[in-house]
Amino acid sequence: MHLVIIGNGIAGVSCAQTVRRLQPEARITLVSSESPHHFSRPALMYLYMGHMRWEDVKPHADWYWPENRLELVHYHATAIDVEKRLVHLAAGPPLAYDALLLATGATTRYADWPGQQLSGVQGLVSKADVELMAATTPGVQQAVVVGGGLIGVELAEMLHARRIPVTVLVRDAHYWGSVLPPEEAALVDAEFRRHGVLVQYRTELAELLGDEGGRVQAVRTSTGQELPAQWVGIATGVQPNLSLAQSAGLDTDRGVLVDELLQTSVPGIYAAGDCAQRRQPPPGEAAIEPLWYTGRMQGETVAHTICGQLTPYRRGPWFNSAKFFDLEYQTYGVVPPRPVEGQASFWWQPARGHCGLRLHYRLDDNLTLLGLNALGLRLRHAVCDGWLRQGVSVRHALEHLGEANFDPEFFPQHEEAVLAAFNQQNPTLLPLVLRRRKGLLTRLFST
């Protein structure tokens, strides 16, 4: 079997690795015009800030690919001949495939703003983006970042590291309003302020203004303000790279449409990662999941189907993580940004200290745990995942909170305080007793 994978991001590479494991004799070719080797997309920011070099953000050394017989083609895939099962490249002979995976990723989404074509206006998705940013930010006096999500805060941190004053425009009333409840967003906002980054909420980009040379000079906001900016970062979301799929006649919508086996409308062609859109996602799950982790899981899953072990994509309880400047964030399961009928949320935050913990649960007899948010605290993924899969009560989770504590040694332990706060807020419930602490004593005395 010859598997051709277009895209060497995490979805494509995870598929290649899994197929290599399942079918040691398969021929596997990865095609990418973005970079000769796979790299960690979330690490692009560290290149710009000088934490690491290009070779440091490659998850595998260069010998890894030939040693595992993963063929790399550093050309742009220009067209797919669905009839003849060929992938045409910008140079060289076309590649014949038995199975084809589209893992073409996504690109910055622009909302047709006037002036968005000006130089100095860009997003941050690809290797070319970070290189362009490095080339266009020196000498910039003021920058504006548009968008209150994860890439927005990354861009702000990158510019801040270069000591470029930056203003972030956020559409919602608080940070990442589509995901974070207000308490979490307030902690993120405090983090912005601690680092001297201005955030303007309820503000959108209206227009970009340039000079005669075609370089951006200012932005006009939806509130009518004009902010000087010689560089503008667009972080309002990404959109799947579709041109290859569309020109090949595959069914597309916002992304390449796939069934639960991640098969496209054409037999033998699959799609995974940021470019794939599930036709019928299970309730509560997004059709497009543009995330490192889901890209990895989709790549692993589709590899099984490609190798003949038909495996529907079931990702299990949601998880994600991020870092807002110095504030780490982890989330497990479902934590809605706004109150939901029949569900309740318990939020704990110390009077002093820059952290917080939320347990979200259903108001049923069991008080079933639905999700957790942690800021400035580290939780153990395996424990949270187990709780969510088993549908444990929020009471069980709190009483065994030490089990989920993944903070390093000597860090303050908050379990007692968290329980006390819960007991205080819920005087009608039977008081909780901490049954599982963190650390050595736990292991000695727990059953």
Binding site: I10, Q17, T18, R20, R21, S40, P42, A43, Y46, L47, Y48, M49, G50, H51, M52, R53, W54, D56, V57, K58, P59, A61, W63, Y64, E131, L132, A134, A135, P138, A161, R162, R163, R194, H195, W292, Y293, R296, M297, E300, F319, S321, A322, K323, F325, D326, E328, Q330, R378, R380, H381, A382, D385, F406, D407, P408, E409, F410, F411, L440, R443
Partner: protein, 465 residues
């Protein structure tokens, strides 16, 4: 567009921002301090004392002030901006110069100490107070070394103040360097006792279990000497396996050891320079275990020789005409060869001289027999591991970047596997630097120690063979 076309050779973080006036002022104090010490080296007797102490004062004030300015103010967190872009920390011209100056200092210290006379003499007063004897080149070296650990330890405390683990660990290496490696040996000399370092053990301090040293300690130190021999033997042969079983080799390498103390403080800025490649790992294995084997063999032969079990040829002097070993017995020659090439050149000259180019743990990683011994225990007889957190790794590479021992940590993290490596000294920086809370140093039960997370289906492809 040269930035783009020359990528990836050119780091993207260029140009680095201009140095702020305040930072320049603090660094100017450091430079003036170094200048004053240079003047001391050539100054007439009347000037050398004032110049020396002025130099030390400026150097200390400048280092402390700069550390505070750079890391002590503003929000606490991982601050690695421009690490790979600055000449001083990215193997640039400044790094090469620093390496050459450090190497040169060791060469002069070991083989031409007479040129350090002007730097040694101003320390006589301090030496008399502490040790009841005049200063020598080793007192100068020990004092500079301890000062470096304390000053750069303060920098590490500022830099990692958000992490209790790093704070306590840094405090620990500063305490052991000052107390156990500087004050206590000096005090022992003042009390007319043998100079002894209670924080160094065989096989790092290889001669502590040599028959000659044991004999000298017992004879010269009386009851205290017997205790010293007992302490050395128990620490090497009993406490080391037991402590390593419970805590991993970190109890020594990154909490107690003086070499580790300098690496974790003065060397912190160079930790990313350790080579993470498979080739480097192969050299590590090729060097460190034979060195351990060599010193174990030498020690065993010396004891056999002392017991009179070996043929007389081993223990009687021969005039071989060879440098270094002429006129000594083959056994003594072996220990001399080890002392010269491993004890002096590798651990001192190369070990510290290579800091700005290869990272601060060159000796610990490629040479130290104690690290090899602790590493074998840690790999095979320990509860210690670095756990990875389910599927949360994003392969960003920050963990590998900060690993001073050259472990490619992300290879394990991105496969959901715990990191159990003989080399790991447990400094905890991978855990501190991880932006997603993936890594955690844990002393867990031995069952399931190698168990990978089911939340990532790890590729079956091997990392090291």
């Amino acid at each position: 567009m040269t930035t783009i076309s020359s990528f990836p050779a050119q780091p993207l973080a260029h140009p680095t921002p201009a140095t702020a006036p305040a930072e320049r002022s603090w660094l100017a104090l450091v430079a003036l301090g170094l200048l004053a010490l240079l003047v001391t080296a050539a100054a007439p007797a009347g000037l050398r004392g004032p110049a020396f102490w002025l130099g030390i004062a400026l150097l200390s004030a400048g280092t402390l002030g700069w550390s505070w300015w750079k890391f002590g103010q503003g929000p606490a967190g991982v601050r690695h901006n421009f690490l790979w872009a600055r000449s001083s920390t990215a193997r640039g011209a400044v790094a090469w110069m620093t390496g050459i100056v450090l190497t040169g200092f060791y060469v002069v210290l070991y083989w031409w100490p007479q040129y350090l006379e002007n730097l040694i003499r101003p320390l006589d007063g301090l030496s008399q107070t502490l040790r009841h004897r005049p200063a020598d080149q080793w007192f100068l070296y020990g004092t500079f070394y301890t000062l470096a650990v304390l000053l750069m330890g303060a920098r590490a405390l500022y830099k990692y103040r958000h992490s209790p683990y790093q704070r306590i660990r840094t405090g620990s290496v500063m305490f052991f360097q000052l107390g156990f490696s500087w004050l206590l040996p000096g005090l022992l000399l003042a009390l007319q006792k043998p100079e002894f370092y209670f924080s160094y053990f065989w096989p790092l301090k290889y001669d502590y279990l040599f028959p000659g040293t044991v004999d000298y300690l017992v004879r010269d130190g009386r009851a205290l000497g017997v205790f010293m021999v007992f302490w050395g033997a128990v620490m090497s042969l009993v406490a080391t396996p037991v402590l390593t079983y419970f805590f991993g080799k970190r109890w020594y390498c990154s909490w107690v050891c003086g070499c580790g103390a300098l690496a974790e403080t003065a060397g912190d800025q160079y930790r990313h320079l350790s080579d993470k490649s498979r080739t480097a790992w192969r050299w590590e294995v090729r060097l460190i275990y034979p060195i351990l084997g060599f010193i174990v063999l030498v020690t065993a032969l010396l004891w056999l020789g002392a017991a009179g079990v070996l043929p007389g040829w081993f223990t009687s002097p021969h005039s071989s005409g060879l440098p270094l070993v002429d006129g000594v017995s083959p056994l003594e020659g072996l220990s001399k060869v080890y002392g010269f090439f491993i004890g002096s050149i590798f651990s001192g000259v190369i070990g510290v001289g290579a800091y700005p180019l290869m990272g601060a743990r060159v000796w610990c990683r490629f040479g130290c027999p104690m690290a090899a011994y602790l590493g074998l225990l840690q790999k095979h007889f320990s509860r210690f591991r670095i756990s990875t957190n389910g599927g949360q790794c994003i392969s960003c590479g920050n963990c590998s970047n900060v690993c001073e021992m050259g472990i490619d940590v992300k290879q394990y993290a991105q496969r959901g596997e715990p990191i159990i490596r003989a080399a790991c000294v447990g400094c905890g920086l991978c855990s501190t630097a991880c932006p997603r809370g993936v890594l955690n140093l844990e002393n867990g039960p031995r069952e399931g120690r190698y168990q990978a997370s089911p939340l990532i289906s790890a590729e079956s492809l091997r990392i090291l063979e």
